[in-house]
């Protein structure tokens, strides 16, 4: 014969069990995105930034000696949305090492006009926020020597298959891209962008030729060179590749991609204003890109 439980006791027991179950469930809801939670618990967003100065994307302002630029602003706004402070890590040796480090969870995300390459996809996970056309600043004489009218449909192929000597920053995405997009080119790597520009614009007084025929980067890096020094337009011409787009991305680790990519997507759509083209960036930062009166 089974013992008879008082009805009131049974009712209280059920209510107690349900309350305990509900109380157990609440903390589980709060910890659903462990990646964001860990950032919030830490109290600051840790952002990896390249060791270079690339205005107006990221650079140390000479007057205030503080980091500024649209990439820096984006990171600040992200931290604001998370309700945490912001800390930059600029210890990486190169763009590629920066991506490797974010993949190894050295920081929460890596930003800084980072291009998209197969090699970087081995190391980390990208979320696109900029769409920049690849561009060359080429010596007009080299372009003429191709013997194809730049308005002709065959010009693109003639240029891409030529023996052009291309310069850019060594160990950057541009080295990889140059070898892929210009299979017959000779790539010359320089320590920084200024050195690459100098190599193109300096003509040997004896041979009357430059060390390279063109420098290679995205349109927002190429166009400002002629904006800042318009008389260069006579001898050098920006070549903009509408068919080769650099999908500038914010890189995340695997854990970060699972926990943070949706947050980033929403942020880019709502706050950043969709993926921005190079033309939009050139317009928005006209004061920087076109200081010519």
């Amino acid at each position: 014969m089974s013992p008879k439980w008082p009805k009131a006791f049974v009712r209280h027991l059920i209510a107690f069990t349900l309350t305990v179950a509900l109380l157990q469930a609440l903390p589980a809801l709060a910890a659903e995105n462990s990646f964001i939670n860990s950032i919030q618990q830490r109290g600051y967003l840790k952002v990896g930034l390249p060791p270079y100065n690339t205005p107006p994307a990221y650079y140390i302002d000479k007057k205030t000696e503080k980091l500024q630029g649209y990439d820096v602003e984006l990171a600040r706004e992200l931290a604001g949305k998370l309700g945490v402070d912001l800390q930059f890590d600029r210890e990486s040796k190169s763009f590629n090492s920066l991506v490797k480090r974010v993949g190894a969870d050295d920081f929460d995300l890596a930003i800084g006009k980072l291009g998209l390459t197969y090699n970087r996809l081995f190391d980390a996970f990208p979320v696109q926020y900029l769409s920049f056309r690849h561009a060359l600043l080429a010596d007009r004489k080299f372009i003429s020597s191709l013997g194809v009218d730049p308005e002709d449909n065959g010009f693109g192929d003639a240029l891409k298959t030529s023996n052009i000597r291309i310069g850019s920053i060594e160990n950057s995405t541009w080295e990889t891209e140059a070898k892929v997009n210009f299979p017959n080119c000779t790539f010359v790597g320089y320590k920084n962008w200024e050195d690459a520009q100098k190599a193109l614009l300096t003509v040997d007084p004896k041979t009357k030729i430059s060390a390279i025929d063109a420098i290679y980067r995205d349109a927002t890096e190429i166009k400002p060179i002629v904006y800042k020094d318009p008389d260069l337009s006579l001898k050098y011409v920006p070549v903009l590749f509408d068919d080769i787009i650099d999908r500038k991305s914010i890189y995340l680790s695997e854990k970060g991609y699972i926990g943070f990519s949706d947050f980033l997507d929403v942020f880019i759509r709502r706050e950043w204003g969709e993926v921005k083209s190079d033309e939009r960036i050139l317009n928005e930062y006209q004061a920087y890109y076109q200081p010519v009166s």
């Binding site: 007009r140 004489k141 372009i143 003429s144 020597s145 013997g147 009218d149 730049p150 308005e151 002709d152 449909n153 010009f155 693109g156 240029l159 002629v226 904006y227 020094d229 318009p230 008389d231 260069l232 337009s233 006579l234 001898k235 011409v237 920006p238 070549v239 903009l240 590749f241 509408d242 068919d243 080769i244 010519v292």
Partner: protein
């Protein structure tokens, strides 16, 4: 309140003023200053409208050119090469004088332009000039790869196909002037070998076409002052003054060539005409041709004046007609000299060394590309230089952008150069009409009909 009669009077006045304004003197003293001031005060939006109106009127003025050329060339060639009209010796004399004078004038004009270019160094720019040009070219000469690229504007047709006629009426309606000329020459030669009885109806038709075309040209030329006001005001309002200053050497060089061509043409006129012939003209006709071409920006408008002047001096009408129309349309000496200067400008700009061999190449390519501009007018003639730039491996787009930027100004001296040097060729190659031949020719020549046009004579203006 204005009554209909008042408005009629007003319109009558306007239409009576227009022919008077067509005189070159009035162009310099009234139209040019008014247009410049007007261009400076009007808003830029209005300028593009004015420019469109001006171009529409230019198209109207150019419309009688093709039938005029077609009829003039066919009639004159038929007359010159008809065995009934003149001796073989006279035909040979005209042909050889025309070909030699045409060739020599092209070479001399090229050489003159080259010498002036070497002296003036049109493409050697000051740092400020380079900066102005650089600013002007920002964004406009970028090369886009992989997008929706427009087809090349430079025709890849073999050059000889531009000369060989296909269907003379189709060529005429398509504005293929070189084909029309070559077709007319061939047709004229064929007519000269046929029995006059067979060709007479066609000759009568061509004479009517010619007379009507001259009359149409005379009427539409009344619009020339309005065309100039619209075009110059539009150009002054929109043209980049900074570029004009930066390319001042080039501009001066083109104007100097026009003035030097005027001097050469005056010398030729003096050397190849007798005192009696010169006594038939009140003013120097070369000056009038120069001013008329300069003021209208079209050398073809000087054709009736050249024709009437030389005919009035007693030159053989058919020879004048043939030499004037062919030299105006084929030689395009203004374009030849302009292209030589433009090539030197481009070579200077890109620090290409100038050697004696290169000078010869410049002369040859300037002449070749200039002649290939036959049938083209205004800015459309500028891209013909691309062939020469391509040969020297000089960047084409920036040079064309710069040349096109100042072309509204340089169209005028270019037309004036073509006009005066064509006049020189006509003076050299046409001979006095012999009475015996004239009696035969006058009955069949188109010139007899042209001379009936009192309005044509008034084109001389000043």
């Amino acid at each position: 309140m204005q009554t209909p009669q008042d408005s009629m009077t007003f319109l009558d006045r306007v239409f009576s003023i227009l022919p008077a304004l067509r005189k070159p003197r009035n162009f310099f003293f009234y139209i040019l200053p008014f247009s410049i001031v007007f261009g400076r005060v009007i808003p830029t939006q209005l300028a593009s409208g004015l420019n469109d109106v001006g171009l529409a009127m230019v198209q109207l003025i150019a419309f009688p050119a093709i039938p005029l050329v077609l009829s003039a060339v066919m009639i004159s060639i038929a007359n010159i090469f008809s065995e009934d009209n003149r001796s073989a010796q006279r035909r040979l004399r005209f042909s050889s004088r025309f070909v030699i004078s045409l060739t020599l004038t092209i070479l001399l004009a090229s050489l003159l332009a080259l010498l002036l270019s070497i002296y003036q160094a049109p493409g050697v720019l000051s740092p400020d000039g380079k900066l102005s040009i650089g600013r002007f070219m920002l964004d406009t000469t970028d090369i886009r790869v992989g997008g929706d690229v427009a087809a090349s504007s430079i025709s890849s047709d073999f050059w000889i196909t531009k000369i060989v006629p296909s269907n003379i009426l189709a060529d005429a309606s398509a504005g293929q002037t070189l084909r029309v000329i070559s077709g007319s020459v061939l047709a004229g030669l064929a007519m000269s070998r046929l029995n006059p009885g067979l060709t007479q109806p066609l000759l009568s038709l061509l004479r009517s076409v010619n007379t009507t075309s001259v009359q149409v040209l005379s009427i539409v030329l009344n619009l020339a002052p309005l065309v100039l006001i619209c075009l110059i005001s539009g150009a002054v309002s929109t043209i980049n003054a900074e570029i004009v200053v930066a390319l001042l050497n080039f501009t001066i060089c083109v104007f100097l060539t026009a003035i030097a061509s005027l001097g050469i043409s005056r010398l030729v006129f003096r050397r190849f005409t007798s005192t009696r012939e010169r006594a038939t003209t009140d003013a120097n006709p070369v000056d009038s041709v120069f001013l008329l071409s300069l003021s209208t920006g079209s050398s073809m408008t000087a054709y009736p004046l050249m024709f009437e002047t030389l005919k009035g001096m007693g030159r053989d009408e058919s020879e004048v007609e043939a030499s004037a129309s062919l030299s105006l349309l084929i030689a395009r000496l203004g374009n030849v000299t302009y292209n030589v200067i433009a090539i030197v400008f481009a070579l200077n700009l890109y620090d290409v060394g100038l050697t004696p061999v290169r000078f010869l190449e410049v002369i040859f390519l300037g002449a070749f590309t200039g002649i290939s501009a036959a049938g083209l007018t205004g800015v459309a003639t500028v891209p013909t230089i691309a062939v020469a730039l391509s040969y020297f491996q000089v960047p084409i787009p920036p040079v064309l952008v710069l040349l096109l930027a100042i072309d509204p100004i340089l169209t005028l001296p270019r037309a004036a150069t073509t006009g005066v040097l064509a006049m020189a060729i006509s003076v050299i190659s046409s001979a006095k009409s012999s009475n015996s031949e004239l009696s035969d020719v006058s009955s069949s020549s188109s010139l007899g009909l042209l001379s009936q046009q009192s309005d044509v004579a008034s084109l001389e203006g000043g």
